[in-house]
Amino acid sequence: MHKWSSLLLAVTLLVAPLSACGSSSDTTSGGNSRLDVVKGRGELVCGVDGSIPGFSYLDENGEYSGLDVDICRAVAAALFDDPNAVQFRNLDSTERFEALKGGEVDMLSRNTTWTISRDTAIGMEFAPTTFYDGQGMMVRTDSNIQSLEDFEGKSICVEAGTTTELNLTDNMRELGVNFEPVTYQQADPAYAAYAEGRCQGMTSDKSQLIARRSTLPNPDDHILLDITMSKEPLGPVTVDNDSAWFDTVKWVTYALVEAEELGITQENLAEMKESQDPTIRRFLGIEGTLGEDMGLPNDFAARVVNHIGNYGEVYDRNLGADSQFNLERGLNDLWKNGGLLYSPPFR
């Protein structure tokens, strides 16, 4: 009997301090920013979706590609001068915020819509929007469905835990249409069920629908209705109350836009470094201490452009002219060209 109790005593004494250590080192409190954690690790852990071509997609060779993926790579390039110093984690829409809050990933870059409740009540911090989107509806070409009213008594597939799910409910409530939502925890089964004909409609962000349509068995059998149900600003996310880390993600994202605005591309970067324009020299870290003030290398923006290119190049490569989707820039063009992209000055 007393052998048992002394064993239990030993175990308890061992476990109690261990659990205390574990819990205190996991938090980002006490001025210990995630930025230092990432720098110390020498690698960025980035949460992505992993199943949306054009945004984040894991191909047959085990390579990630897409706009969201390039944002992760840009942060890694800024910090480590190595776009491959990233570990990607595939997260579905229901687990993403918990993974971020629990410190399992350093940042999210996965089609996450910026909303006020996520920014406040859920405790997230949204970096600048990298893609302005709107919610659409995909139907079968031969289905005779032209508007949301035609969904009376029909079913619509949707991914759970998304703003899409809420917008759909709101829109249908306004129109007074009785429909059946079939909610899936992940995108893959949702699109599979839609492809099998479980639902007459599939709703999500338009860009995602276009990208996903390309993976359906007969892409031409499906069309997007000419409806925009909501605005969906998508961008990278970090956890609340960590300014240093949030600033890093924010300004790396802005650097992509600013580079396009200044006309700096992967190709002309070397020439641009010779430029006498003070704005360009400050941006590339040749003059001033813009990077060092944030705790980054001074030439972080130059590193980003060198490895990833500017926003325009990233867009063209993944979604635009150079990709299979050939999406118009539209809202995602620079403000000078009538779009919404605008970077605060680098000075």
């Binding site: 308890t12 109690a16 915020f97 009376e152």
Partner: protein, 387 residues
């Protein structure tokens, strides 16, 4: 003079002391452990600027779910209402699952002792395949199977009574406004039949009569019951006023059906093994004794062996029921809006993970404690009465 007994044993050599001290230390350790977890939680929540309250439950849920037993309107109802709808969906699966899985399990279990070679082998094949593959895989299998049904526009129409389509199985459903009255009548008929049966057995055994008149009355009650069910309930077959929609009748969505099928066949295989073990635990002498009385093998099983086997069967059966209820949370894989699925969406939309998880844990705990309680009562009733 001091005797040996009055001489004090040093405290650290005193077994009684260590016994108590060990318990105290363990209790302190457990409290400290949970205290650390709790304070850590509160600190982290404060850091994230989120308080620990359940007020969010009153907020508008504003997400729709595909099926609900109670009326649920996403535009008006709160999170507590949607969680209640999810709980009722879980209960719907749990209750129909427990009933069906018991039938499947007992049938497959007894079939292993059948004199029929084909039946015996079929049940072994069923049990071995189902027991050795993961439940999640089976659920996805059933779901994929049901997705192969034709679309709503081209539904299978079985005599205009049953519709089969990708949206689900549509069955006739009682729609009579006086349904409760008819149900009450049915219950009365059943009670009458029960007493008739007892009376008949009694006079056959005690007075050696044939029981023929009673048997005829018994048949009359059965016919009355059938008439009530067929004509009183006002069965309404599903209707399709325009292609693509199905109205009235009972709809079992393919999400519900695949979850139910998966759970019933999976748990049923385990119950079959429990039933087999229970039957084998009955001494061989009982079979031989019963046969020597001239009973046929079906009657031996029903009257002699199975009642004795119940003593061994019921305790593990309880565990299987609990497993069924817990496994129903895999509904999330086939998009059925059960409690866990709905709660998952809730904490995603509100960010109140810990509160929602607490609610889920307490609900499943209560549900399973109730099942255990009922099963324990049943267990007591079949135990040997030792006097």
């Amino acid at each position: 003079m001091m005797t040996d007994q009055e001489q004090k044993i040093p405290l650290w050599r005193d077994d009684r002391f260590w016994r108590i001290a060990g318990q105290v230390i363990v209790v302190i350790g457990v409290i400290a452990f949970f205290g650390i977890l709790g304070s850590n939680l509160v600190r982290n929540l404060q850091q994230a600027g989120i308080g620990f309250s359940f007020e969010f439950l009153g907020n508008n849920a504003s997400f729709a779910i595909s099926e609900s037993v109670i009326p649920y309107n996403p535009s008006l109802d709160s999170y507590s209402r949607v969680l209640m709808a999810g709980l009722l969906n879980t209960l719907r699966i749990a209750i129909s699952g427990i009933i069906l899985t018991t039938i499947v399990g007992i049938f497959a279990g007894i079939a292993q002792f059948s004199d029929n070679w084909l039946l015996r082998k079929l049940s072994v094949i069923y049990i071995e395949i189902v027991r050795n593959t993961p439940l999640l895989l089976q659920l996805l299998f059933w779901y994929a199977m049901f997705l192969q049904l034709p679309s709503v526009e081209e539904k299978f129409d079985l005599a205009g009574i049953i519709f089969l389509s990708k949206r689900g199985i549509n069955l006739p459903f009682p729609a009579s406004p006086q349904i409760w009255l008819w149900l009450a009548a049915l219950v009365v008929t059943a009670i009458a039949a029960f007493f008739l049966w007892q009376w008949r057995t009694k006079i056959i055994v005690e007075q050696g009569q044939s029981g023929q008149p009673q048997l005829i009355t018994l048949w009359l009650t059965v016919i009355t019951a059938i008439l009530i069910i067929v004509f009183g309930f006002g069965w309404q077959a599903p209707q399709s006023p325009e292609p693509g929609t199905i109205e009235t009748g009972l709809r079992l969505s393919i999400e519900f059906t695949s979850l139910l099928m998966g759970l019933v066949f999976y748990t049923g295989a385990f119950i079959a093994e429990i039933v087999r073990a229970g039957i084998q635990s009955v001494p061989k002498g009982q079979w031989e004794a019963a046969r020597s009385l001239g009973l046929k093998s079906g009657l031996v099983m029903r009257l002699v062996v199975f009642p004795q086997a119940l003593r061994v069967i019921i305790p593990p059966l309880n565990s299987q029921y609990l497993n069924l209820v817990k496994n129903s949370s895999l509904a999330i894989a086939v998009a059925y809006p059960d409690l866990y699925n709905v709660a998952n969406t809730t904490f995603n939309q509100t960010g109140r993970v810990i509160q929602v998880i607490l609610i889920i844990m307490i609900t499943y705990l209560l549900l399973n404690l109730i099942i255990s309680l009922l099963m324990n009562l049943l267990n007591i009733s079949v135990q040997l009465k030792e006097r």
